[in-house]
Symmetry: C2
């Protein structure tokens, strides 16, 4: 009988590139989502270079702290790739070459009409006793090791290889080893209020929660143009968890009102898309300072073609007048960054696209181009169409990318509020 029960995990990302300014670990976010679905809580994340000693120490420490250790990266064919060696050393399992892996790798290369580079042979070395996790999209197989009452999983670093491995074979092996308790989460997100003021509004709600038997934990988080409340609760039955979280969310919405745009962690672009789809409306976008970011966010959502036909990025004034029929005189009198121009852009693009609703964004994202009256970060957003007309001027601070992000958030949020008011 196997007494291994997995409630907690540690994630170790391996790769010197992750300790440079050019790369960040993103796999652990995906892994966390999948582990949480199995009620496995992530206790910590560690990022180490291609360094045998530090990786060995990190692995030992992670084994002290969690039932499951997931390593990502360091399984490639090059000298830098130390994960196999360190696993063998720390777990006391010598490396042996598996001929079948060599054959699989050779086939992958020959399918693309290429020969197998000799260095790929290293990828066939496997700690004795480890099981292989097939990798359909790359040359490095993953490794599954049951060790004492714990599990160590090693996966390749490239997200497109790792993801299907996690969703398939890793999940299948993990599911029977979990305790059967459930970790339920909810994310309530708010636009248009500061972190401190959201916190003040929700404090009395938290106080009530502390009196209850079913503990709901909450964490507050501020991002560009939004504040998130992350709720979680751990219970033995999923309906019980859901009921506790439903009540908690209801109490938060009661104090936060329509500043709340989602209670289930959806991105704002998805919320807006769902509203548009429900109304069978289409939106058209005219962007200046956001440079296509609003369109790109909206089209990150699968199926967005049902409510989005046309976006125009009019960086030059001439493009605003030629394409969107913004009167030249309006730009001369009020300036390109002004509420009248934002409104004219919004209605201009809506007419061009024959869309029910139009959004116009004009501003200065910086770092240059600001004036005393309209400093860098000044952004005018207009929403016009079947549901009426709204326009606002914002003053954002931060770098160019942060201003772009905040402006895109403001545009999507104004659109949401107008759709809500109408719907």
């Amino acid at each position: 009988m196997n007494a291994t029960v997995i409630d907690t995990a540690a994630i170790i990302a391996v790769g010197s590139e992750l300790l440079t300014p050019y790369r960040a670990d993103t796999n652990s976010v995906f892994l966390t989502a999948r582990l949480n679905e199995l009620a496995i809580e992530v206790r910590g994340k560690l990022i180490v270079g291609d360094d045998r000693k530090r990786l060995a120490r990190g692995l030992e420490r992670s084994l002290d702290d969690a039932d499951l250790v997931v390593l990502t990266g360091g399984l490639g064919p090059t000298d830098d790739d130390v994960t196999r060696d360190v696993l063998a050393q720390v777990l006391g399992m010598p490396l042996v070459e598996q001929r079948e892996i060599v054959e699989v790798i050779q086939k992958r290369f020959s399918a693309r009409g290429l020969g197998m580079p000799r260095i790929n042979r290293r990828q066939a070395l496997v700690p004795r006793g480890a099981e292989l996790i097939p990798n359909a999209r790359g040359t490095a197989p993953g490794l599954w090791v049951e060790w004492r009452k714990q599990v160590v999983v090693a996966l390749p670093g490239p997200p497109r290889e790792l993801k299907p491995m996690v969703d398939g074979p890793v999940r299948e092996r993990l599911a029977p080893l979990t305790s059967g308790s459930h970790l339920a989460r909810r994310v309530v997100a708010v636009a248009g209020s500061t972190e401190s003021h959201v916190e003040e509004r929700v404090q009395p709600v938290y106080a009530r929660w502390r009196q209850r038997a079913q503990v709901v934990k909450a964490t507050i988080l501020a991002g560009p143009g939004q504040v998130e409340l992350h709720l979680s609760t751990r219970v033995s039955s999923m309906p019980e968890a859901e009921a506790a979280l439903d009540l908690a969310v209801e109490e938060l919405v009661a104090v936060l009102g329509c500043d709340v745009y989602t209670t289930v962690g959806l991105p704002l672009e998805r919320v807006v898309g769902d509203r548009l789809r429900a109304l069978s409306w289409r939106v058209a976008l005219a962007e200046s300072c956001t440079g296509g970011l609003v369109a790109s966010r909206l089209t990150d959502i699968p199926g967005s073609s049902t409510y989005f036909d046309l976006g125009v990025v009019t960086y030059a004034n001439a493009a605003k007048t030629d394409f969107l029929n913004v009167p030249t005189s309006l730009i001369e009198v009020h300036g390109a960054v002004s509420e009248p121009v934002a409104l004219a852009m919004a209605s201009g693009v809506a007419i061009r696209a024959a869309a029910e609703i139009g959004v116009g964004v004009t501003g200065t994202a910086g770092p240059t181009g600001g004036t005393d009256a309209k400093p860098v970060g000044t952004v005018c957003v207009a929403v016009t169409g079947a549901a009426g007309e709204r326009v606002r001027t914002f003053t954002f601070s931060g770098d160019r990318d942060v201003v772009k992000r905040q402006a895109s958030q403001a545009a999507l949020d104004m659109l949401r509020r107008m759709l809500d008011a109408h719907g």
Copy 2:
């Protein structure tokens, strides 16, 4: 005399939200860039929840491994914010309230016409002996602690607060404590080749490097649509480091040719922008499946308005015909995802914008919309204009966002190659 010399750093990001699927630590990437500029190498990154015990253990371990420990997050006003407490405990410095901080926070709130929430008072607790690092953009000051021969710095989590603190007071305090040696880095990035084949081409170069006195370290990295080679070297003089890296880069370019798009780590959108500016050309974009991502990337670069006037996101076929004069018959005969349509989009938008060069992208980003002949991930990219005409069909794999990213990379790279061929 102060004998503290800082060569190495560990970064600890604090916050339970960073252990959920909804957030990733991004501060450490910025911090790494700034520390590297001071020749401080990052040895590891750790991410822990709002958990006193684990943070204390992580801090102790990091102090064993690096000269400098930078903590981010956990300085807010709420109960979750444990960094101050843990610093006090691990370093043995009791917390004391500093009235001046209370006054600064009160002023920040009153400047916005608001009262100070009572909970913000916790932010005035400071470990005795710590110096304050002023925070111009938030209520939480940072902390600077010299401890034995090491330094611990605690900074607030929000990037817009942290960044100016690092670039100002933190940098000023760190600079005199570094050894005076230099860590120089170079990033050579390549488009249009696989990781293994780049590796094979560069292996003979690496072999030569191993014979040399001045050690150049290299790490290879594959991303969507690109492969990067990260080079670094540590020396006592900057000119010496630069010379060693210049030679190394030259040898890499000799084997990789025009697949190399940068030898100094610039993003592809910046490289393309520089080429356009040098030619005094303007580009116009017509995007379908990339949904504005190419425009958004191009406009992430300050000053992009000099070479970019107009981008159009034509998600619907009607928008392609109305706006870009793509003949309806072309779409009927070849399909919207086809080389002739990509070409017509590129030339259509270039004519509309009176730009020297036009780019057209059409494809299926998924998850639905694929056919047997044109599966999800099929993307046609065309570049047309003063320098000629090129069109290619790609088959990308991965999720919607990965396909979008790869397609935007392919479009920018085709544009780069055409500009290079011309320039």
